[in-house]
């Protein structure tokens, strides 16, 4: 498997929320990177994990499958998953795969942090 062309930086915002800035290509190959970012962001004190897709350059169906796996892990820890920064194209993919029913999509980081639906 090729090395994943992606970086994921983790920022803590307040005591209970973490933001993961995703830049590059989301494919099945980047699962170790995403899960490491989740480990870095998802301590027991984190109740809300926000994925920033503003730097998303490419995503295939393996990438969507990986997000489902992340969702399962977050649900197990009773953590909410949110997303923002999705272009219209990727927002439609979330809707097509019905992933948007489990990962709430927001227009901005501010609304994602505060849970205000667009």
């Amino acid at each position: 498997m090729n090395a994943p062309a992606i970086t994921m930086d983790v920022r803590r915002v307040g005591d209970t929320t973490a933001v993961v800035d995703i830049r590059g290509e989301v494919t099945a190959a980047c699962e170790p990177v995403l899960m490491s970012a989740y480990e870095a962001a998802g301590g027991a004190s984190t109740s809300r994990l926000v994925l920033n897709f503003g730097g998303l350059e490419y995503m295939n169906s393996g990438g969507i499958g990986m997000l489902v796996t992340l969702l399962v892990r977050a649900n197990r820890q009773r953590q909410q998953l949110a997303a923002y920064g999705l272009s219209e194209h990727y927002r439609e993919i979330f809707e097509l795969t019905r992933l948007d029913e489990a990962i709430t999509i927001y227009d901005s980081e501010e609304s994602a942090l505060h849970g205000v639906v667009r």
């Binding site: 803590r12 973490a18 830049r23 490491s36 870095a40 990727y90």
Partner: protein
């Protein structure tokens, strides 16, 4: 078959150079995070994804019943009922075949690799994003389960099918090929939950084993088409989530297995009704 608690073993953040920043770090917006404006550039995966659909539309296809598909919504693992499984069926395709050749053959001749007794009626042009294929699946006792699949994604090295309401499982199956060293490997990977409680029982009572045999036979047939003398398929199953989603138990309303049986039983009555109506209208 292995049942695990999920993908717990991962590399540490240090190993891949990640760091959790300080809590005081100021929020920044999407434009700041992105080195370019992602909303303006046409993504290179755009042609590989199907366009958004709310409900499936499909016309008549020869050789299949074609029921239980039109008007149905797509269902992913999020919408399913049963435990979530990731099943991988993998085969070495040797050094001669490139991943692109393997996937091109698979996409073009997909129905031909299915085990006997099952029908896949797709578009004449092969597997393309947005296509809907109709399926008649043998479930024993002379009963055919009539359902379908939607082509969610397709590129030169992979393609993905997603299931509609009423299908045995809610999820998707990705067919892919890749180069590992000087060898090409091909695989089918299913990420699924049984769609409703009836299917969950059926999967537990031999359904998983039947599905494993189905995809192993499919890969073996593909391997023979690719010229492999002795195709060998490795199967790996992992329970990603052992919890059942009881809020989706009402998916049973769409159960295509139940509906297929009822449609089969009622076929002589409805056929006679059509005949009578036809005679009356001619008179």
């Amino acid at each position: 078959m292995t049942e695990t608690a999920g993908p717990e073993k991962v590399a540490t953040a240090d190993e891949i150079g990640l760091s959790a920043r300080e809590a005081a770090a100021p929020p920044h917006d999407a434009a700041q995070a992105a080195p370019y404006d992602a909303t303006q550039a046409a993504p290179r995966d755009a042609a590989s994804w199907a366009r958004k659909v709310d409900r499936l539309e499909v016309g008549h296809r020869a050789g299949v019943r074609g029921t239980n598909v039109a008007g149905r919504r797509l269902t992913g693992p999020v919408q399913g009922f049963g435990k979530m499984w990731q099943k991988t069926y993998r085969m070495d395709a040797g050094p001669q075949i490139t991943p692109e050749e393997a996937i091109a053959t698979w996409r073009e001749h997909f129905p031909e690799f299915w085990p006997k007794g099952n029908r896949f009626a797709g578009a004449l042009t092969g597997i393309n994003p947005g296509d809907v294929a109709l399926l008649d699946l043998s479930i024993g006792g002379g009963v055919k389960l009539s359902t379908g699949v939607f082509v969610l994604y397709a590129d030169a090295e992979s393609f993905t099918l997603m299931t509609p309401q009423g299908h045995m499982f809610a999820g998707w199956i990705t067919f892919s090929a890749e180069r590992e060293g000087d060898m090409t490997t091909v695989q089918a990977q299913v990420l699924m939950r049984a769609n409703d409680p009836l299917y969950e029982i059926a999967m537990t009572l031999g359904g998983h084993r039947k599905e494993d045999k189905f995809w192993a036979a499919t890969l073996t047939a593909l391997g023979r088409r690719l010229g492999l003398p002795d195709p060998r398929v490795e199967t790996r199953s992992t329970c990603v989530d052992s919890k059942r989603q009881w809020r989706h138990s009402r998916n049973v309303w769409h159960n295509s297995m139940v509906r297929s049986v009822l449609q089969m039983i009622s076929a002589p009555v409805t056929g006679f009704g059509r005949l009578v109506r036809g005679v009356k209208s001619r008179a």
